[in-house]
């Protein structure tokens, strides 16, 4: 027995629950979790005798909707009834034991669908053919005389019918076909439709689906304190006072954090405040915003930087340009601020098996992190994937929460402990969107056309934090040069230099990593259009190849937003176009200014070409999400550094937009087919520049640093 089945888990939980109405709805998958009569046709498809279909989901669900959309793709090819479909997370333990049968479990980069759609659709189609073959064998007829549709196999000649549930067990014993034909998306019946999301009913009922909701027999709770200066260590701990407090079981001291374990999280957190911790803050306790800015600015001046792009001779072309325009742009650090703080429940069981429940974007990394910390082999570990209370990149590459959770479990052997950070801890110990500074020089000809562009980017490298330079060919960090290294505009002379300046603040993949560059680029292009006296849409279109999909979405958004029609007095608009994460997006933002100079964004129109659309409603929801997430960063979010630490601590000084600040969002889906793009991040790329370009239209002021709360804006 290497995993705990749902049935066993339920039994244990309710036995110890002491009559409390324990609600167990945790997603747990393993073969044992299904009734013996159900049949695993293949790793992705389980069919019950009553025709219920369970689709295994390898990627994580953090609100983006792929828990449902991935099931749609499998169900489409399986050709079952959607009303009979449910989904469950694949077991990471079983995943490793079965030679990574479910492919990548990583959920980031808007990749859940686009990097798994081929093998998922094949899994559905393979299962369908096996079901057909099993029915044909039962009827003793050739399979090609049979068809499958909506969960039923029909023998065309005789009209005999069998339901999937009746032949699933027999189908599961067959050898899978190796060559299956996939349905053309134009014939989709389940995929491509706005079916209701499978995870929402439990979420509106308040069912315990999130990492912080785990409840286990005898479970204790932990709150954690880490050195406020990044990179610091614990010097000494005096937990005597805390240990006298009610419910406190243990003060756990690790190399770089302290945890208090108690019988209730509030008690643990109260007691943590009474623990006297002396930190060795290391060498970074003097670092502040100015020091970070100086570090980045030093990068702008550095000679012989690695080049992310070199086309033609930008330096020479700038020297001979009719006009040269130069600007510097910058952005601050930003926390992900997931609503659910970082959390991990871990239980080191007496028999040498470790169970972990956590909200993770990367279950395989959670497994290997748990193995490293516990010293146990992977087959002695299970990570139960919980629904994420937001991810946005925070819960992927950094598995700090699993590292801590398992370390605490080791200190409390035999006892399940649920570790959760306070909001303050979460705000001050993130993996922040990097602060960055860029300098852009553009050469224009006498008609104002862009002939040369030289961009220097000074930005910490996210890749170097997580992969130790392994993913940095030529010294170039992919996210750090986004939107410049792959700029679609046909500019004959381009050079993009990258100055890696890392600093001590941990950086990470914040929704659409590298998106600051889309803000810089599309704002700067707007500057050039203004300098040339050209319409911002026309100016961009003139630099986009006829076949470029960026052109298509730009034209689509201009049409949908009635770009060529004047706005009512007092309203202003800006435009931006950017591609990323496999998709092409263009945005128009419309706004007004209050007499006090406050920006009120009223309407955002977005056009997206993602090739295909699996669930149009989820795609629209992601566009709305990107607008709101991006708007907070434009309006007021910033993580300041002082004394080597993050200044902000909670939502009073790291504000999120409220309902009254949200613009109308209109999303135009223009899938052109032939490729698979993502929806989780692409639409955020153009938000900041579209808003800032609209502010320029309103005020004549170019916004070269965010957030806007630092700007003194007045209508013209």
């Amino acid at each position: 027995m290497t995993t705990v089945s749902r049935r066993e888990f339920l039994k244990v939980s309710s036995a110890v629950g002491g009559g409390l109405a324990l609600q167990i709805g945790f997603p747990v998958a393993s073969r044992a979790a299904h009734a013996a009569e159900s049949a695993e046709v293949n790793a992705w498809v389980v069919i019950h005798p009553d025709d219920r279909v369970v689709v295994r989901i390898a990627r994580s669900e953090m609100g983006q909707g792929s828990f449902t959309a991935l099931a749609q793709l499998v169900a489409e090819e399986l050709d079952c009834e959607w009303s009979k479909v449910s989904a469950e997370f694949a077991s990471p333990n079983e995943h490793f034991r079965r030679n990574r049968v479910w492919g990548s479990m990583s959920t980031g980069g808007s990749q859940a669908i686009r990097t798994s759609q081929d093998y998922l659709r094949k899994a559905g189609a393979t299962a369908r053919e096996m079901l057909v073959a099993a029915a044909a064998a039962q009827w003793k007829v050739p399979p090609d005389q049979c068809t499958a549709s909506a969960g039923t196999i029909v023998h065309g000649v005789t009209g005999r019918k069998l339901r999937y549930g009746q032949v699933a067990s027999a189908a599961a014993k067959l050898t899978p076909p190796t060559d299956v034909r996939l349905r053309d998306p134009s014939a989709w019946k389940i995929a491509g439709k706005p079916v209701h999301r499978l995870d929402i009913p439990d979420k509106v009922r308040g069912k315990p689906v999130f990492g912080v909701d785990v409840a286990l027999p005898g479970m204790l709770h932990a709150s954690v304190a880490q050195c406020p200066v990044f990179g610091g260590k614990v010097n000494s701990v005096d937990g005597a006072a805390a240990l006298t407090m009610r419910g406190v079981k243990k003060v756990v001291r690790e190399d770089d954090f302290v945890a208090v374990v108690a019988d209730n999280w509030w008690r643990a957190n109260q007691a943590l405040k009474q623990v006297k911790i002396e930190w060795d803050t290391g060498s970074n306790s003097q670092v502040d915003n100015q020091a970070i800015a100086a570090m980045l600015r030093d990068g702008l001046e550095a000679p012989n930087l690695p080049q992310a792009r070199k086309i033609g001779d930008a330096r020479a072309a700038l020297a001979s340009a009719a006009k040269v325009i130069e600007a510097e742009y910058q952005s601050p650090y930003l926390n992900h601020a997931t609503m659910e703080p970082q959390t991990c429940t871990a239980w080191l069981k007496p028999e040498g098996f470790l169970e972990v429940w956590t909200s993770t974007q990367a279950a395989e990394s959670s497994m290997t992190t748990a193995a490293e910390v516990s010293g146990l082999p992977l087959d002695k570990i299970e990570v139960h994937k919980m629904m994420l209370g937001g991810g946005f990149g925070r819960r992927g590459a950094p598995q700090d929460f699993v590292r801590q959770g398992v370390a605490i479990a080791k200190a409390m052997p035999g006892v399940p402990v649920k570790m959760m950070w306070s909001r303050e801890e979460d705000m001050q110990h993130g993996y922040y969107r990097p602060a960055s500074v860029v300098r852009i020089k553009a050469g224009l000809d006498v008609q104002g056309r862009l002939t040369a562009m030289h961009t220097t980017i000074a930005c910490p490298s996210i890749s170097s934090v997580f992969a130790r330079n392994a993913r940095m060919p030529g010294g170039i960090d992919g996210p750090a040069v986004r939107s410049f290294g792959d700029m679609p505009y046909t500019v004959p002379h381009q050079q993009v230099d990258y100055a890696q300046r890392n600093g001590h603040v941990p950086v990470g993949y914040w929704r659409a990593p590298g998106q600051q560059n889309a803000y810089y680029r599309e704002s700067f292009i707007d500057e050039l259009a203004a300098a040339a006296g050209k319409d911002p849409v026309e100016y961009r279109l003139a630099m986009l190849d006829p076949s470029d999909k960026n052109r298509r979405v730009l034209e689509a958004v201009a049409k949908a937003a009635s770009w060529s029609t004047a706005l009512p007095k007092g309203m202003y608009r800006g435009v931006a176009v950017a591609d990323g994460f496999g998709s092409y997006t263009a945005l128009v933002a419309e706004l007004m200014l209050t007499p006090a100079g406050e920006v009120k964004v009223k309407r955002v129109v977005i056009a997206i070409d993602s090739g295909y659309v699996v669930n149009p409603d989820s795609c629209r929801a992601q566009a709305e999400s990107n607008v709101v997430y991006g708007l907070g960063a434009v309006l007021y979010q910033q993580n300041n550094i002082k004394d080597g630490r993050i200044v902000e601590s909670n939502f009073h000084d790291f504000k999120l937009p409220h309902i009254d600040e949200i613009p109308q969002v209109e999303t135009v889906l223009v899938p052109s087919g032939g490729f698979w793009g993502g929806h989780g991040e692409a639409a955020i790329l153009g938000l900041a520049p579209a808003v800032c370009n609209a502010i320029f239209a309103a005020t004549g002021k170019r916004i070269r640093a965010l957030p806007l709360s630092h700007q003194d804006l007045q209508p013209i």
Binding site: L20, V204, A215, A337, G389, N650, H658
Partner: protein, 157 residues
């Protein structure tokens, strides 16, 4: 011992009177629907009803809930789903869903006090934070639930 009325049931608990109601619900009574988001009453993920009014349970000492009717998301509908929950499903409001139990409790209290809220009423009442940005659908679902209510009261449901 304190006695609370939670979702229509009397619940006896032995806790410090200053313990916030949220932690009594989550860690003592195993009602995890109300969520911790900020601990200081800013985000509203912990919203429950006390005597029908929306309250941030992270900032309310449990002693102040004694003698009053506490309703959590788990007890919002006597059976089945509350019309706000139904509207939330129909309009696909949640994304990650973490803040949504608080949003739903705030919306249900708003409609109980004001069956036909205007957009301005919604702006005032719905101060809950959502990091996924579901606000447009929150507004749409509240209006839809209000219309369901009026349809029901005129016998057209």
């Amino acid at each position: 011992m304190l006695t609370l009325n939670v979702n229509g049931r009397a619940r006896s608990i032995d806790v410090e009177p200053e313990m916030p109601l949220l932690w009594v619900l989550r860690d003592e009574l195993n009602l995890p629907g109300a969520k911790y988001g900020c601990g200081v009453g800013l985000c509203g993920a912990c919203t429950v009803h006390i005597d029908g009014q929306p309250v941030r349970s992270c900032s309310l000492p449990v002693s102040e809930a004694v003698g009053r009717k506490v309703v959590t998301i788990e007890g919002l509908a006597a059976k089945g789903l509350h019309r706000v929950q139904q509207a939330w499903i129909e309009h696909e409001v949640p994304q990650c869903g973490y803040c949504q139990t608080g949003q739903i409790m705030a919306a249900a209290a708003l409609l109980a006090n004001n069956p036909h809220p205007t957009d301005a009423d919604i702006d005032t009442a719905m101060t809950n934070l959502c990091r996924c940005g579901t606000y447009l659908r929150v507004r749409k679902a509240i209006h839809a639930a209000a219309n369901d209510l009026s349809a029901a009261s005129t016998g057209k449901a």
